[in-house]
């Protein structure tokens, strides 16, 4: 084995009571691509932020190329030859590529020389690694894939020998991701060390030499990629909790509850995110939408729930049209029996500064049972909240407690209780178990199945393929804003994965 580019010994880091990293040991050989895999919240990003000097470890040692390194700020990391491509790009949007590349590495007080130098250096990097980008382009006018390339260029310009990429493919199309992987291979061939943080097993298997698995803040295993399997890694990632199988009976689909025809949605920059999407959901079924994050699922949900205006398309709820391109708002849709558990419960689904009972009426605050004329009926609201707390086993069982003080799982239960207990005909659920503890996941899944069995129509959007497969009666796969296929729940992970990656229908069906 080659000499270690990075060695981490006994790294600990806590945020208040949360131990994000516990006693981490890790060795990354030079000139390899090393994957670090784990679920959301396993502590991967924290560990890498420590390595990049963004945070400081509470204890432990970092060695770079065999020598102990004191990395207290990003500057120290850069000096040690470590570069990082963040999940959310650290670019100044209205600056040119050149300006972004030299920021912090200008060299001298006046810019003209450093700009000239950067220009020629970029040309060299372009030739060496195939990292083409117009140095004078303004960042906000570049597609995401190219913006990421600028981030890589920034690191290389600073002479990075070790490149850390944090969830780099989350925002990329499969073609862009492939291109990125080719670039990473090339970097490796030139002797650079690449650390790839991801929660996608496929990527690990495709391009890494070694892989380390993190779970709940600890490093549970390191393997040579060619000596391990997806199954083994998946088990290491989730621990005892192997595949989630939810007990459920046969679906008995009834009449069409929600019918979406030719829906097109653009984001705030005018980019088409949902492209001519059509589907129906019937009473008594769960329709899952699978897809890599950022392929239009969020915008689809926002449009159907009235939060985001659609550009075109017709949507029928219980056979009656909804004007999603104009006047429809979430309040009106709620009145018509469409409930929505949003992806982002911290900023959308809940007001964290409110107490529990106040959040238990959010969106339903104009329902007569919570009001006395223009006034809030506090007694009714408290009683209602108390009932939901008992029914959903929300802890602590205190409707006056600030919502920020509940755990992720209990916060999610507050949202679910609110939406489900209004007895909606259609329920749209986004990422229902993101950041939720295992016990609550089971509870939430059972609730959703119960909804289905009561004859409700459920639209489930999740990036967790397991969740989609174990809950859905039909699975739609979204890719680049389009629904590229519909499959049954028994469909294999491999086939769905290909669809999610945008491989043509027919091929995938083979």
């Amino acid at each position: 084995m080659a000499e270690a580019a990075i060695e981490l010994i006994g790294i600990n880091k806590s945020f208040g009571a949360v131990r994000a990293n516990r006693d981490i040991a890790l060795e990354i050989p030079r000139g390899t691509i090393h994957g670090i895999i784990g679920e959301n919240g396993a502590g991967k990003s924290t560990l890498m932020s420590i390595l990049y000097g963004f945070y400081q470890a509470d204890s432990g040692e970092i060695r770079v190329n065999g020598k102990p390194a004191s990395i207290k700020t990003p500057n120290d990391a850069i000096a040690a030859g470590i570069g990082m491509v963040h999940q959310h790009f650290m670019l100044v949007e209205n600056f040119s590529v050149l300006e972004n590349v030299i920021l912090g590495a200008e060299g001298e007080a006046l810019l003209n020389k450093s700009i000239a130098k950067a220009r020629s250096e970029l040309r060299r990097l372009e030739q060496e690694y195939g990292l083409e980008v117009d140095p004078d382009a303004i960042i906000e006018e570049l597609p995401v894939g190219l913006q990421q390339r600028v981030e890589i260029l920034k690191a290389l310009y600073r002479g990075a020998e070790i490149l850390i990429l944090d969830e780099p493919t989350g925002v990329l199309t499969p073609a862009e991701a492939d291109h990125l992987f080719r670039i990473l291979q090339q970097l490796k061939e030139q002797g650079k060390t690449v650390v790839l943080i991801t929660h996608k097993l496929r990527e690990i298997m495709a391009i890494t030499d070694n892989v380390s698995v993190m779970r709940q803040g600890t490093m549970v295993a390191t393997r040579k990629t060619r000596e391990t399997t997806v199954e083994e890694l998946a088990e290491l990632m989730v621990g005892r909790r192997v595949l989630l199988r939810v007990e459920k009976g046969e679906a008995k689909p009834g009449a069409v509850k929600l019918s979406v025809k030719n829906l097109t949605v653009k984001d705030s920059r005018g980019v088409t995110m949902v492209d001519d999407v059509s589907f129906d959901i019937r009473a008594g079924e769960i329709v899952g939408i699978a897809g890599v994050a950022g392929n239009g699922q969020s915008e689809l949900m926002e449009a159907v729930s009235g939060i985001r205006k659609a550009v075109s398309g017709t949507v029928m709820l219980d056979g009656k049209p909804i004007d999603l391109t104009g006047q429809a708002d979430p309040g009106e849709l709620r009145d018509r029996g469409l409930a929505h558990v949003p992806e982002d419960r911290h900023h959308v689904g809940l007001v964290l500064a409110f107490d529990e009972s106040e959040n238990s009426i959010l969106g339903y605050h104009d329902k007569p049972q919570y009001l006395k004329g223009p006034f809030l009926n506090l007694d009714a609201i408290q009683k209602d909240a108390q009932e939901k707390i008992e029914k959903y086993d929300i802890r602590p069982a205190n409707p006056r407690l600030k919502t920020a003080n509940f755990s992720g799982g209990n916060q999610q239960k507050i949202v679910l209780a609110r939406e489900i207990e209004q007895d909606p005909g259609v329920l749209i659920v986004g990422q229902p178990t993101r950041g939720v503890d295992v016990g609550a996941i089971e509870f939430i899944h059972k609730r959703l199945i119960a909804m289905r069995d009561q004859g409700k129509a459920v639209l489930l959007v999740s990036v967790e393929l397991d969740e989609i497969r174990s809950l859905s009666d039909r699975i739609l796969v979204m890719f680049a804003g389009r629904v590229v296929g519909e499959r049954g729940p028994e469909t294999g992970e491999g086939e769905l994965g290909l669809l999610m990656a945008g491989v043509e229908h027919k091929e995938a069906a083979e």
Binding site: V18, G331, V351, A353, G363, A404, G408
Partner: protein, 380 residues
């Protein structure tokens, strides 16, 4: 919306920390007093005695406090919606115009108790109207409301100077102000109320029924914010505009409605000096009360139960400050402006300065009381 700060018991959050901030503001103000060669402790004694030591002083203190309750409430209502209405000054000034129109038309024919409700409506209407354009521009075109309301303060000043000099000034008069109101435009004084408690108040003391109106408004604001659907919507929007959108609350409507209420409250402030004391509409009658409202709202933590005492405190400073200027020639009433600035600085901009230290103290007593917000862990 998780704060970077750990939590403290509510009494420390809402009592101890504001108190410490206030104390520091006064200590710094004391240093300024020292700097001009006077004894800060003696100054404080004169201040408090001047404000509360006599019925007359108390009447003046409460008269000033009336202004600040209105403007403090105005700022606070906007704060709850996440808006900074720095335009209370201009909204109150323009409201003077509304009052002038009503009172000049009816003061000789109708009794005060008929004119007063009409004047309340006119003041609220004009104040609200002056807040409407900045509100609309914020809601519809995203123009920063802090800047537009500042601009509207200056525009209001120009409008009022023009109106008073060219339109409202009676012919032949030199002073740029309306004619003197007769009986129907004069509000009854409340000196007798203090006299009931055995205090002596001269009839000249300006405390009048608008003080009672201010207290009623404080109560109504409390009801509005914490007990009505509209208040719920205002607070939702103030904490998270995304959550408000999700909940079906219209951004445009909530911004405009909140600013109308805020402007109306600021506008009602004009009743107190105009109908309660001066009995005409002079130039510059607001004289900074709109800005004091910012300090009052910050100190009162945007809650009426905090705003009323904070307004009385500033009323005390204004009245006591006048006495102080009399006793200590080196100190004029501008001392109050400094204190005001210091309160805004320490209770507003630097409100978190002492928090880590206090948290440290609390943590050393009971480590369990200082937890961290539950949201942190999932994001690592």
């Amino acid at each position: 919306m998780s704060t970077p700060y750990a939590k403290l018991p509510a009494w420390a959050d809402y009592g101890l920390i504001p108190l410490i901030n206030l104390l520091v503001a006064f200590v710094v103000a004391g240093l300024v007093v020292l700097l001009v060669g006077e004894n800060p402790l003696r100054a404080a004694v004169i201040l408090v005695e001047g404000a509360f030591g006599s019925g007359q002083g108390l009447a003046y203190t409460l008269f000033y406090a009336t202004n600040f309750i209105f403007t403090g409430l105005a700022v606070a209502v906007a704060f709850h919606c996440g808006l900074f209405n720095i335009g209370g000054e201009g909204q109150a000034y323009i409201a003077g115009l509304g009052i002038a129109i009503v009172v000049l038309a009816f003061d000789s024919t109708l009794p005060w108790w008929v004119v007063f409700p009409m004047a309340i409506i006119a003041s609220a209407l004009f104040g609200a109207l002056w807040a409407l354009i900045p509100a609309y521009l914020q809601a519809k075109r995203g123009s920063h409301i802090v800047i537009t309301t500042i601009m509207f303060n200056f525009i209001a000043a120009s409008v009022m100077v023009y109106m008073l000099v060219n339109v409202l000034k009676p012919a032949g008069s030199m002073a740029p102000q309306t004619r003197q109101f007769v009986e129907g435009g004069q509000l009854p004084k409340l000196g007798w109320l203090l006299a009931e408690f055995g205090l002596t108040v001269r009839p000249s003391a300006p405390l009048n029924v608008s003080f009672l109106l201010a207290l009623v408004m404080a109560f109504l604001v409390w009801v509005l914010i914490w007990r009505t659907k509209l208040g719920y919507e205002i607070r939702t929007f103030g904490f998270s505009s995304k959550a408000a959108r999700y909940a079906g609350i219209s951004e445009t409507r909530i911004i405009i409605v909140t600013m109308l209420i805020s402007g109306a409250l600021a506008g009602m402030m004009a009743l107190n000096p105009i109908m309660g004391d001066q009995h005409n509409v002079p130039l510059d009658f607001v004289s900074g009360a709109g800005f004091v409202g910012i300090a009052v709202a910050l100190m009162g933590r945007s809650h009426p139960a905090g705003i009323v005492p904070a307004a009385v405190l500033f009323g005390m400073l204004y009245q006591g400050g006048a006495e102080l200027a009399f006793e200590m020639p080196n100190i004029s009433r501008d001392m109050i402006v400094i204190i005001q600035g210091l309160v805004i600085l320490f209770a507003g901009a630097l409100e978190h300065m002492f928090r880590p230290a206090i948290q440290g103290i609390f943590a050393s007593f009971s480590p369990r009381s200082v937890g961290i917000t539950a949201t942190k862990g999932e994001r690592a």
